[in-house]
């Protein structure tokens, strides 16, 4: 009996974290003591009404459907779910060994049951741009997901969110090699496309036969027709319209989309040295307008040319850059987000991990270091949403946007606040009271199946089972109560 109830509790708590197993109808009403909309002033005793997964009203006295589930918590603060503009977590093996692999898609690496997707809910993150890791040159296409769902398709908010490109160095490779491979990639793309045009003029049909061999449907409109090369790259192809688009090899096709301005690039720069390489590659191949720089290390020192180029940046999780003065040996601290804030570069913040240095903490640090609260909150909500071209869908609590709402015990940027509920697209997907892992960490209450916890000398231990008789009895009672 004890085992049965324990398992049932475990199952129930698992369900709380994997909610799509019994997804709701996307209809919910949230009433909170304070609603931080991210779009105008906070609303005291506010109401957020969500229907069919979308926010239909935010205000003080909004009417709700009679059959909507109501989360009525005057003691809590509601705010828009945080948006992670770039993350290489949540995947099984996030780095690709092939240097140039634009044809890969994180769809095949994202692991829906990865602990990361469970843990980000506790930090109030509801939208994540998952991108390949930095050990590559061109890593593949990323994907924007929400941290709930049992399949990648269920999780997907937007597929093909952009190509991961690495402009700096990586272990075992010099900067020169990395830059050279990057240049070569676009040179080879150009040579390949020129050959396609020439072969077509010469009446050769290798490309068509290869496409058919790969199983591409050449009768589909998008494959059948050719069209002139678009975009603003410094190089142009003459007569490209004579090549049916379906004949472009799928290994090269994502790069062509990038050059034509139809795909975003998340370009990782490990240092200031890499920034120029990144911007130059983007500029000459016509994707500067679709480029987001993902910065790390001392890359902030190139802030002026970044500001000049007009690109947005995702800042590395080590916000406080510390270097030693070469002469005095004293340490000099630079708070990186403030550099970009002062230069009016659009910046989003990035979690290092899903706990202490998560987005709320990064944003709070900004406030302490001279960035106003509104801009700091924007850097983890609206700005990453805009950078991901999801500005109309997530990032604030406004009519028409996805119903992604976090309910916390206090201010979103306070260390004493804990996330109590998370609603994604109108479904309650996280309930702290059912989160046994959070209780173990924050309350010292071990999970039901984690074995004996407190050693109480007064309670005799059964030498055969190792269990304490009274403890066992107590446990099944509380389990029974929880079930109700």
């Amino acid at each position: 009996m004890w085992m049965r109830t324990t398992q049932l509790t475990a199952l129930l708590s698992l369900c709380a974290l994997a909610p799509d197993a019994f997804a709701g109808n996307g209809k919910i009403v949230i009433k909170c003591g304070r609603v931080v909309t991210g779009n105008g002033p906070d609303i005291e005793n506010g109401v957020v009404v969500i229907e069919e997964g979308r926010i239909v009203a935010v205000g003080k006295d909004e009417k709700a459907a009679w059959d909507a589930e109501v989360l009525d918590h005057p003691e809590l603060v509601a705010y828009p779910g945080f948006v992670e503009a770039h993350s290489s977590r949540g995947m099984d093996r996030p780095n690709e060994n092939i240097e140039v692999a634009p044809f890969l898609d994180v769809r095949d690496s994202i692991d829906p049951i990865n602990f990361y997707f469970e843990d980000v809910l506790r930090q109030g993150i509801t939208t994540i741009n998952v991108q390949q890791g930095p050990l590559c040159v061109i890593g593949g296409q990323g994907r924007v997901v929400k941290p709930v769902g049992l399949t990648v398709d269920e999780m997907t908010v937007r597929s093909s969110s952009g190509l991961k490109i690495v402009a700096g160095s990586r272990p075992g490779r010099s900067r020169a090699t990395q830059a050279q491979v990057l240049r070569k990639t676009f040179g080879e793309l150009r040579a390949y496309l020129e050959k396609l045009v020439q072969d077509k003029k010469d009446g050769k049909d290798y490309a068509r036969r290869e496409a058919l061999f790969q199983g591409r449907d050449m009768d589909k409109d998008e494959n059948k027709n050719g069209r002139a090369m678009e975009g603003v790259a410094s190089w142009k192809l003459e007569n490209f319209e004579i090549v049916p688009r379906g004949e472009v090899d799928e290994k090269q096709e994502p790069l062509l989309r990038l050059v034509e301005g139809k795909l975003m690039a998340f370009v990782y720069c490990d240092s200031a040295v890499a920034v120029n390489n990144a911007l130059e590659t983007a500029r000459s191949n016509g994707f500067l307008a679709n480029t987001v720089l993902v910065l790390d290390g001392d890359a902030w020192k190139a802030a002026d040319i970044i500001a000049e180029s007009g690109v947005s940046v995702v800042l590395g999780p080590n916000q406080l850059f510390v270097e030693r003065d070469p002469l005095t040996g004293k340490e000099i601290e630079t708070f990186v987000p403030k550099v970009f804030f002062d230069k009016k570069v659009r910046f989003a913040l990035q979690s290092l991990n899903s706990t202490a240095q998560s987005l709320w903490f990064q944003a709070a640090q900004c406030v302490g270091r001279g960035i106003d609260r509104k801009s700091a909150l924007d850097a983890v909500t609206r700005t990453p949403a805009e950078i991901l071209r999801l500005g109309k869908q997530v990032g604030s609590l406004e009519k028409g946007k996805d119903g992604n709402v976090v309910l916390a015990s206090g201010d979103p940027l306070s260390v004493t606040s804990t996330v109590q509920f998370v609603v994604i697209e109108g479904n309650l997907v996280y309930d702290r009271s059912k989160d046994s892992r959070a209780r173990q960490l924050l309350e010292g209450i071990e999970q039901a199946n984690a074995g004996p916890t407190k050693t109480d000398d007064d309670v005799p231990v059964d030498p055969h089972s190792g269990k304490k008789a009274e403890d066992t009895k107590k446990k099944s009672e509380t389990d029974g109560a929880k079930k109700d």
């Binding site: 708070f335 302490g368 001279g370 306070s414 606040s417 960490l441 924050l442 309350e443 010292g444 916890t453």
Partner: protein, 424 residues
């Protein structure tokens, strides 16, 4: 909660206020007036819109009122909040393994102070995070590693001049660390570097043997050994023992060691009064009743993000609040980390996330570690006559959305980042 007496003091001294302070024009001037929206004295009295006056390196006045906002002087420092300088009772700044004497597991007479570098960059890092007094322990690779030193993180260029208290505690370690790297008798040949013990029980044995030997030496001077007089001091309660013990099994071992000394016949004649605190007691939440029973305070290690921490232990985030409820005195520590998410001020914040009230969190990073280190008469609170170690904050202390904007140590403004921070 404003005090009438403090208010009166303020009224009297404000009129002469700034002018009456001893002043000189050197940049290291030791007289300041700090005006803060919140003055957290750490004595249970907090003032809104109060002031702290510093003169001659000491706190001269703490007052519940201040002058008008348009008063201006370069002696006046303005901030949102002011607290006493933070104190870390387990800072772990050492010269690494090279400062461990490997010839013997029991080294009660060695001083870590002799190995410290006053120019090390770590002192600055602590200072920037508002930590002004620290307890530096010998590394925990011996069973009894030696004598710790309590000192300031800024000041003169010698360790001696920065020292608050020499031989502040006798330091040792339980658990797996003292036996880490020691060679077992099997597996590989015994060599010059082979040391004992190699197991937890061996560590415990070394502890007990040291005290029994010391007790014997106290009665029979022919049995004295290097450092036995330090152990005798510890048995008499004249030298506090600090034992590192992460896991609950090691905390028990430390508790039982103290109780054994208190009860066994060998330790009669005044050798049965050891004073002890347990450092890095991550699992203190598991058996707090033992600590209550043995009257042992603890120093908690940094809060681990996912609970699991060193020596196979699990630290729940409500551990500080649990200890408060049980009435066990405790201090928090960052173990010397200065990263924004790990610094001592954030440890206080994390303890508050676990339910600890602000006043107790403040005490756990100021007055309580000062008491454990035996320097509470000089640092840890904002009281007249104490060392002028102050931290100026631009927001609510311990929130990640506020930061340390200036630090005063012994009346000298040692860290000043006011221009870089926007006050709230």
């Amino acid at each position: 909660m404003k005090s009438l007496i403090f208010g009166l003091t303020a009224a009297v001294s404000l009129s002469s206020g700034v002018a009456s302070m001893p002043r000189d024009d050197k940049p290291e001037s030791k007289s300041w007036i700090i005006w803060a929206d919140r003055v957290y004295t750490g004595t249970g009295m907090n003032f809104d819109a109060g002031m702290v006056g510093v003169g001659g390196g000491k706190i001269a006045i703490v007052a519940a009122s201040r002058g008008s906002d348009d008063e201006s002087s370069d002696r006046i420092l303005r901030c949102y909040a002011v607290t006493a300088g933070l104190v870390d009772a387990s800072v772990r700044i050492t010269n690494g393994a090279s400062s461990v004497e490997q010839s013997n597991e029991i080294q009660p007479n060695l001083r870590v102070a002799n190995t410290l570098d006053p120019f090390a960059i770590e002192w600055d890092r602590q200072l920037r995070n508002g930590v002004t007094s620290v307890l530096v322990n010998p590394p925990d690779l011996n069973v009894i590693g030696g004598l710790s030193v309590a000192l300031k993180t800024a000041g003169a260029d010698t360790i001696a001049e920065r020292t608050l208290k020499n031989d502040a505690v006798l330091r040792g370690s339980m658990g797996s660390e003292p036996s880490r790297g020691n060679h077992p008798a099997f597996g590989r040949p015994t060599d010059f570097f082979s040391r004992r013990p190699t197991t937890r029980m061996g560590v415990e044995w070394a502890w007990r043997k040291a005290f029994y030997d010391a007790a014997a030496a106290a009665n029979d001077s022919t049995r004295a050994f290097p450092g036995s007089e330090r152990l005798v001091q510890a048995l008499k309660g004249d030298l506090t023992i600090s034992i590192q013990a992460w896991a609950t099994q090691d905390i028990r071992t430390a508790v039982f060691l103290k109780e054994e000394i208190e009860s066994q016949a060998e330790f009669k004649n005044g050798l049965n009064k050891p004073r002890m605190f347990i450092d890095a007691a991550a699992e203190a939440w598991k058996e707090p009743q033992l600590l209550v029973r043995a009257k042992i305070p603890v120093v908690l290690p940094p809060f681990p993000a996912a609970g699991r921490t060193r020596d196979n232990s699990f630290m729940a985030w409500n551990v500080a609040e649990e200890l408060r409820k049980e009435g066990i005195p405790f201090a928090l520590s960052s173990h010397g980390s200065a990263a924004p998410e790990n610094a001592l001020a954030m440890q206080a914040g994390y303890a508050m996330q676990g339910g600890l009230p602000f006043e107790n969190a403040l005490a756990a990073v100021t007055s309580m570690p000062a008491r454990l280190m035996g320097v509470a008469d000089r640092v840890g609170t904002l009281e007249v006559g104490k060392d002028a170690d102050l931290v100026l904050w631009n927001g609510q202390p311990f929130e990640p959305s506020s930061r340390v904007i200036a630090v005063i140590v012994d009346g000298v403004l040692r860290y000043d980042a006011r221009d870089k921070a926007v006050a709230k």
